[in-house]
């Protein structure tokens, strides 16, 4: 066997699948520590979750990769590539990207909580990708841990053999070696032929202001090194490789990337559009004929308007969206105009969390204060003239007289919950216009409840309500199940007598009255008092169905300002002014950011 072949036999590419809070990031940290990729002194908690946002929320959004060297009990040194995956349902696309670059996956399940709905979805993805799945029962040191029950659950629900599942506690550093041994013994070495033309899968990329687009790849066949000419098969663009490297976990330049390796390529790629995640990189002089299968492209399901609060930030916002899209093919955007908010973008997301994350990243990383309008799904509207149109923005909703019928998307929602909460969950689903499909026992105490629910109801605060009504025990996953006819109307909101297009939303006719009333109340709370009275009205067509009033502010003046007060009073006024900057002038009314999302904060009873 050649050296390269030998080396290939010692590579293991794997990822970790886990529900939020089940300890994935901590486990990843321990593995890094154990293999000496980082000394404990260098360790910053949860190295793989690089974004502030991820660390704050305890979730992984952007996938990361890291190369580790592990000396196994058999005396051999192995090269392990750990590719991190996001745990949330919105990021199925990202998960499928990282799984496609691996041969194995650790399935981490909390020893006290058992399998959750989202974990299940990701395990099925991994099984679809023919990955070797190694169950790990984590948090076994918790008093409430019940590893035997969880193992049974894994066997019954997923049908995996859990008899050799490692009992671990990432926090306490228990079971880390056993996990690594299993990775070495059970995860297959990458297949692939070093002598074939280069074939590498792009699973991610990021933009570096000095080096241009940095492409993350998994080499499937052949090899790649500095100086070689590469071609992107989807775009036909050719580049000369400037450097190749690996994540150790810091980006480190290496001589070449070989079969089975995970690493990065710098090739002076300036345009975001020239590389596509899921595309195949090949040798420009000796190209392969067959590209890799790539990914299932997932279409955005939730749309909202993103507007800069300062209209001068418009171009910066476009650049920010372009840069984010580089790493996130599921994000879509196109320009739109609102009479209330000016110029902005209609953006498509995989789900609400995705939307939240993008919005926060734009505000934090690009420092552009934003107004986000309430999310909308895509409606199919059949017009009386026989034309079928799709609507993702309520302000484009046609006049009632021109509509033959409207269809809205439904999802099949699976909710896993302890059986005490079955009644609560069913009541919630019923309230959200859900249709019961079935109920199955996972074990003696936990059930899966399946419902057909309109996606628009999920997009509103379904998840929050589910969590609060089940004390956080429920987990939830959904997939689009098709379109159905629905009796929908468009609700408009008027501030100070003027209709605010950005506040319009589409709602089921039977819920219109209630929603209208609650949203007016919510807006009354959110809109600060102005120097005049502001009426808030909700209307369907020309009919006003609810009204509230924001009373006028009567007096606002600092009584004292002497020598010692000047700096302090100045700061106070600055604060007041900062608050105002985060508001949008709509007609004569100053409206805070949150008001445009008010429709989300409604608690349907």
């Amino acid at each position: 066997m050649t050296d390269i072949k030998l080396r290939q036999q010692k590579i293991r590419n794997f990822s970790i699948i886990a529900h939020i809070d089940h300890g994935k990031s901590t486990l990843a940290d321990r593995i890094l520590e154990y293999t000496g990729a980082l000394t404990s002194r260098e360790m910053q908690e949860q190295v793989l979750d690089k974004m502030d946002l991820e660390r704050e929320r305890g979730i992984t959004i952007k996938l990361q990769a890291v190369r580790l060297v592990y000396k196994a009990d058999d005396g051999e040194e192995y090269l392990l590539n750990l590719i991190d995956t996001p745990g949330h349902v919105d990021f199925t696309y990202e998960v499928s990207r990282s799984l496609a670059a691996c041969e194995g996956a650790l399935l981490v399940v909390d020893a006290a909580q058992g399998i959750e709905a989202q974990t299940l979805a990701n395990v099925y993805l991994a099984l679809d990708n023919d990955l070797e799945i190694l169950p790990v029962i984590n948090k076994i040191d918790l008093p409430s841990a019940d590893p035997e029950r969880v193992k049974e659950e894994i066997e019954e629900v997923i049908g995996l053999d859990a008899s050799e599942a490692v009992h671990a506690s990432a926090k306490a550093g228990i079971g880390i070696k056993e996990i690594l041994e299993q990775v070495v013994q059970k995860v297959p070495a990458p297949t692939g032929d070093p002598d074939q033309p280069l074939k590498a899968l792009i699973f991610d990329s990021h933009y570096d202001p000095y080096k241009g687009v940095i492409v993350y790849v998994r080499v499937v066949d052949g090899h790649i090194k500095a100086g070689s000419k590469i071609k992107m098969m989807a775009t036909d663009k050719v580049f000369e490789v400037i450097e190749v490297g690996a994540f150790k976990p810091r980006m480190t330049i290496v001589d070449e990337l070989n079969v089975g390796d995970v690493g990065f390529i710098v090739a002076g790629i300036k345009h975001v559009g020239d590389t596509r995640v899921g595309d195949t990189v090949t040798d420009a002089k000796n190209p392969t004929t067959e590209p890799l299968p790539g990914y299932r492209k997932i279409n955005p399901m939730v749309f909202c308007g993103l507007y800069p609060i300062e209209s001068s930030d418009y171009n910066d916002l476009r650049e920010a969206l372009e840069k984010l899209q580089l790493n996130d093919a599921s994000l879509s955007f196109e320009p739109e105009t609102s009479s209330a908010l000016g110029f902005g973008f209609r953006c498509g997301f995989l789900g609400l969390l995705h939307m939240d994350v993008i919005q926060e990243r734009i505000e934090r990383e690009f420092n552009i204060p934003l107004i986000t309008t309430a999310p909308s799904v895509i409606y199919h509207v059949m017009l009386t003239n026989g034309e079928l149109i799709t609507i993702d923005n309520p302000s484009n909703y046609p006049e009632v007289g021109k509509i033959e019928y409207v269809e809205e998307p439904y999802v099949k929602a699976g909710i896993i919950v302890p059986n005490d909460f079955v009644g609560t969950v069913m009541e919630l689903c019923q309230n959200k216009r859900g249709e019961f499909v079935n109920m199955e026992y996972l074990d003696t105490t936990r059930v899966t409840i399946t419902y057909q629910i309109p996606l628009s109801e999920i997009v509103y605060d379904f998840f929050d309500q589910l969590k609060s009504s089940t004390k956080g025990y429920a987990s939830f996953d959904y997939e689009i199940s098709g379109y159905r006819k629905s009796n929908l109307v468009k609700m408009d909101i008027l501030l100070n007598g003027e209709q605010v297009d950005a506040l319009s939303f589409i709602v089921h006719r039977e819920k219109a009255y209630h929603r209208g009333r609650v949203i007016c109340e919510k807006l009354r709370e959110l809109i600060p008092r102005q120097m005049f009275e502001v009426p808030i009205q909700a209307s369907v067509g020309t009919k006003i169905i609810a009204r509230e009033t924001v009373k006028a502010m009567r007096k606002n003046v600092l009584a004292k300002c002497y020598g010692g007060d000047i700096s302090r009073k100045r700061k106070l006024l600055e604060k007041q002014k900062e608050g105002k900057k985060r508001m949008k002038q709509v007609g004569s009314v100053e409206v805070p950011q949150e008001a445009f999302m008010a429709v989300l904060k409604i608690d349907d009873k």
Binding site: M531, M553, K555, G563, E574, K577
Partner: protein, 405 residues
């Protein structure tokens, strides 16, 4: 921000940066007999405080300061607190003499004010004050209902008020002012009206009437957070303000600032220094000063201040106010005066035209009806409506030439 921990290199800086020698002095006496529920000033309950050490530290701070930044002819001095009148007669005498020692050059018509609390001012002390140069006393009366006074943590009662004023007159102090407050817990519009009437019956040349603001780090703030502070609603608070302005006007007083009323010629010269954004010395624990484009704040604690002042200028922080920020400050404080600001004064201070710096903002405020032009077209002032929404106006000018801090 330039944190001055020693005074090396300081003197030249101050003198060079200064345009003219300060003519106003603020001195802080941080002691009180007790702490009022709404007070967030730098003050310490008197018991066991090193008062004489403090007065000596003040003396040294003045000495160091005038050595570095010599004064002009002093036109106003304001001694505030705390309660300066908690000093006993001997301490008072020492204190006033030390001012005189470092600032011998008083203008003939100097305004020398001291804050006082009714109940801390016997005849003997008032005489010492008068002999030491004080010629104006400002009494913190706040209200003429004893139940309201105890509800805000004041220890005096209305009897003390009358006796103190009588003593002041006896001591030869006739330029007197009193502070009143409105928007107090449990205060009604009628109660405020009664207090204003009682105050006017005293026929003093000057009144300050403040709206209560619940400041952080006060007992009131804690109660407010717990929803246990029965403040009048905003509608009543507004009524009180409108009513008191009317009463003062009817009685022949001119409102010359948002909270200040005076008979012609009795406007507080010292406070106008602040509102014109002019220089002033600031001495004492936690005191602020503005000398030669530099603002400073002194160390707040009594003992740390005393210790620091023994060897150096006791600064907590000190920084140069950038020209643009000073322009914004000029607007923020200047428009508090009902006479507002004059284009010519702005130009004199900054050598640029007001219009060039703030033209669009001024027009916006004129259009909103919050500002109006002087009849001669030479300046701007708050309109009747602007008086109620002053913060909207002040904030308009802040952070327009500078970045928020």
């Amino acid at each position: 921000m330039n944190d001055m921990t020693n005074n090396e290199g300081m003197p030249e800086q101050i003198i060079e940066a200064g345009s003219s020698a300060p003519k106003a002095i603020y001195i802080h006496i941080p002691f009180c007999t007790n702490k009022c529920f709404y007070c967030d000033f730098n003050s310490y309950v008197l018991k066991d405080q090193p008062v004489m050490d403090y007065l000596r530290a003040l003396d040294h701070e003045m000495e160091l300061t005038v050595r570095d930044a010599p004064p002009g002819e002093i036109r106003s001095i304001f001694v505030g607190g705390g309660t300066p009148t908690v000093l006993n007669p001997q301490e008072m005498e020492f204190f006033l003499a030390s001012i005189r020692k470092h600032f011998p050059n008083f203008a003939a018509d100097i305004e020398f004010s001291m804050e006082a609390n009714p109940g801390t001012t016997d005849l003997e002390k008032l005489k010492v004050m008068h002999e030491g140069g004080v010629n104006r006393v400002s009494f913190g009366v706040q209200a003429f209902q004893n139940e309201l006074l105890s509800g805000i943590g004041r220890i005096h009662n209305t009897v003390d008020v009358y006796r103190s004023l009588e003593n002041a007159h006896k001591a030869g102090l006739h330029n007197l002012s009193i502070d009143l407050m409105f928007g107090l817990p449990n205060q009604t519009v009628e109660m405020l009206d009664y207090s204003v009437q009682k105050a006017l019956e005293l026929d003093l040349p000057h009144y300050s009437i403040y709206s209560l603001k619940v400041e952080e780090n006060t007992l009131f703030h804690t109660l407010y957070k717990k929803n246990q502070l029965p403040l009048p609603d905003e509608e009543d608070e507004l009524k009180m303000y409108l009513l008191l302005m009317q009463r003062m006007k009817e009685a022949g007083y001119r409102q010359y600032e948002i909270s200040n009323f005076a008979k012609p010629g009795y406007e507080s010269r010292h406070n106008i220094t602040y509102w014109r954004n002019e220089d002033y010395y600031g001495f004492g624990a936690g005191a602020h000063g503005y000398v030669g484009h530099q603002r400073h704040m002194n160390i707040k604690g009594v003992n740390p201040y005393v210790e620091a002042a023994s060897s150096r200028l006791p600064r907590l922080e000190q920084f140069v106010v950038p020209r643009e920020e000073a322009m914004e400050d000029f607007m923020m404080v200047g428009l508090r005066m009902l006479d507002g600001i004059r284009d010519a004064d702005f130009e004199a201070q900054f050598a640029v035209k007001l219009e060039d710096m703030f033209g669009s903002h001024l027009r916006k405020m004129l259009e909103a009806g919050l500002l109006e032009r002087h009849e001669d077209g030479g300046g701007y002032r708050l309109s009747e409506k602007g008086l109620l929404f002053g913060n909207e106006v002040f904030a308009e000018f802040i952070d327009t030439l500078t970045e928020p801090k």
